[in-house]
Amino acid sequence: MRARVTVYPRREILDPQGKAIENALRRVGFPGVQSVRAGKSFDIRLGTDDPQAAEGELRAMCEKLLANTVVEDFQVELLNGDEP
């Protein structure tokens, strides 16, 4: 089973990286940009076919390593198909 985990700075926390990218985008001709938040994404393949078990395991991974929940939120998404 494939999954995508995304980790973002929490909404209420200033994201200096996202802010810099936001300013840069406006500067290079995209004045419509209202906000940017910069995060990370992880594509993960798991040995299980059980969506519930997979989701539980992925959430545990986020709590333990992939996200720092003091300053970051995460999202877990199960994907269809076996392509990387």
Partner: protein, 245 residues
């Protein structure tokens, strides 16, 4: 005092800390490799600066899960002294031995410069040789020293007197705050540069005391932090509380 300096792959201030403890303060010191499961009897454990495990994912995140950190946690829980400097502070945060987290510096730059710190407490093993309100000049060298936590947690941290060092102006007056503040250049919440755990035995700070602990380096402000810790250890040993591990 028996001291241990943890070495992660990517630590780069380990030898500086070793040098200060061993050659300046004449203590017994061993290096503790990241995959060791014991602390070789160390009473003071120092997590040095550097880029542990390349700082991949987040600064300190992988290091916090390495085998030696399980031993460091046991040591901390038993009341043993742990000092985390720069990357070592980041590791302590990721290991949840200290509260809060680090973000990228405001302005997104790696900062390498002297800062001024105000000492808020001298009733800790690490700060006994300092006076409350004493201003230290220490160098910083980091990209992620922008301390952050929720307002509620920050209030609790302050109420419990866990803020030990704060970025200030050279005369000790508060940093100005906001972008471009040269006194709190990384933008840390409430100008926090160093904190201690509730038990008072685990200290983390962003600046590098080991880089200014000898006359020849032109600044000895950092030595007092090591001196305090080591003298505390000597006192504990004399009163029979040493070597509880």
């Amino acid at each position: 005092m028996r001291c241990g300096v943890v070495v992660f792959p990517g630590s780069n201030c380990d030898h500086d800390v070793y040098h200060v403890l061993k050659h300046v303060l004449d203590q017994e010191v061993s290096f503790l490799w990241h995959d060791e499961e014991t602390l070789k009897g160390a009473e003071l454990v120092v997590l040095p600066g550097g880029f542990a495990y390349g700082d991949y994912l987040r600064a300190g995140a992988m290091a916090a899960l390495s085998p030696v950190m399980a031993a460091v946690k046991r040591h901390a829980e038993a009341g043993g002294l742990v000092l985390g400097i720069c990357n070592g502070f980041q590791v302590l945060l990721e290991a949840k031995l200290l509260p809060g987290a680090m973000r990228r510096n405001q302005g997104l730059r790696f900062l390498c410069q002297d800062v001024y710190l105000k000492t808020e407490r001298n009733d800790l093993p690490f700060t006994r040789d300092l006076a409350v309100g004493q201003v230290l000049r220490l160098p910083i060298a980091h990209a992620e020293g922008n301390y952050e936590d929720s307002a509620e947690h920050l209030d609790a941290l302050e109420a419990a007197r866990q803020v030990v060092f704060r970025y200030v102006q050279p005369d000790g007056s508060p940093a100005i705050g906001g972008e471009g503040d040269e006194w709190n250049p990384n933008g840390a919440a409430r100008a926090i540069a160093g904190i201690v755990n509730a038990g008072g035995n685990v200290l983390g700070l962003m600046p590098h005391p080991e880089r200014c602990a000898e006359e020849i380096l032109g600044n000895t402000d950092g030595l007092k932090i090591f001196q305090s810790s080591v003298q505390f250890g000597a006192k504990v040993a004399m009163s029979g509380y040493g070597g509880r591990r």
